[in-house]
Symmetry: C2
Subunit: 238 residues, 2 copies
């Protein structure tokens, strides 16, 4: 029983804190193992995080298209692999598989985020070649994924213009953890009341190191700028 007052609530809180520390510690250890493995194979890994419906899968599809066809392919020519995280369904896996890219679905059931053990399991199954790029599409959630390092090279946060300018302030932890923030659905700006300058400044107030991009994955706007940056990053990491 809880040494403080014997009540169930404190007991649970104490156990929760201990268990959370243990789980995060174990997750971080696994993530570091994955990071070392990926580095040794020169595999660049992106962890894509966002709210449900902000356009992660469309962004991923359009990024893959640009990396595998057209002018950008000349610069990259990398093997691409994808890990898809969702509570249920393998809808997104079908969308990615249609692009002829090896993809593995992980369904978390009631789980609200991916963990390093999922990356580890997926890498074993996908068995990626050296000098590859590995995208991980996390479960749609602006809260819990921020706590779990997946062993990625970079964390990419996607926010949609439809979500409003206040999200960096209301959900600061995931903005603090991210390396890149992609503002998606800019094609809808004429129909929304969002203050884009406030969104940018709120994001940078929470995390001054964030690299910001503004795109419409659906219409293609800004996608070449994002993909060119990605190619530069890949080159730096070799």
């Amino acid at each position: 029983m809880c040494e403080t007052c014997g009540c169930g609530e404190h007991l649970h809180e104490e156990r929760t804190v201990t268990l959370k520390q243990d789980i995060l510690q174990e997750n971080n250890q696994q993530a570091e193992q994955i990071r070392a493995y990926l580095r040794s194979k020169r595999i660049y890994c992106l962890n894509l995080m966002s709210s449900p419906g902000s356009g992660k899968t469309t962004l991923l599809e359009e990024t893959i298209r640009r990396l595998t066809v057209g002018t950008i392919r000349e610069q990259s020519q990398l093997p691409i692999y994808v890990i898809e995280g969702d509570q249920h369904t393998d809808n997104d896996t079908h969308r990615i598989a249609a692009l002829h890219v090896p993809v593995l679905q992980i369904n978390t059931g009631t789980g609200c985020h991916l963990e390093a053990k999922h990356t580890m399991q997926a890498i074993k199954q996908l068995n990626p070649e050296e000098d590859a790029i590995l995208f991980i599409e996390n479960v749609g959630n602006l809260v819990c994924p921020s706590l779990f390092d997946l062993g990625e090279t970079r964390k990419v946060l996607i926010v949609s213009t439809t979500e409003g300018e206040d999200k960096p302030l209301k959900y600061p932890y995931i903005f603090q953890e991210a390396d890149v923030c992609i503002i998606n659905k800019i094609d809808l700006l004429p129909y929304l009341q969002i203050d884009m300058q406030a969104l940018r400044s709120n994001a940078l107030k929470v995390n001054p190191h964030l690299r910001l991009f503004e795109v419409s994955a659906l219409k293609g706007t800004g996608m070449d700028i994002w993909c060119s940056w990605l190619i530069e990053e890949l080159a730096k990491c070799k």
Copy 2:
């Protein structure tokens, strides 16, 4: 140590399952106490859940406006109270307080949902009159709030047209738990590729008992239908 194989992973999983069961059991007990209390005071309580940025606060503002002014007020004339849940900031509390409604902010920090203990704490502080309506705006998250009963009369799920038609299939638990699903931002339909018929049928496939509404909280479309239904529900519960 884990009796199965002594590994840390199984140990954590076993402890997680036990702790989760304990936490949910304690939460459910508190929620039932709250429900009995609210029923004894004839207080109707709605738990509003959604992804970040789907328009919960705007919907709540416009609902409160309709319940406190104009023709609908003649039918309701209820005291209104609001509990605001967010990771950080009291932005939404300021928006609600501007409507001259008693409101209490609960910041969850890294927490991803409200729990019954938060409702209990807020009720003690708000001390609502009898025959009132209490709105709880949960943390923006389409996953975790589904597990936690807050003692509410009804669970209301808000989804935005910008989130796509597949969300009921990908996040089924929260759709299964909800009594009402409000599809918000229908003013954006001309600019989106969403299949509304698929969204409706996906929602009803996951939960055939869902009561569906389609609104634009921003433009007011459909809001009178939603509020009239709410007034009828309030009358039934007396």
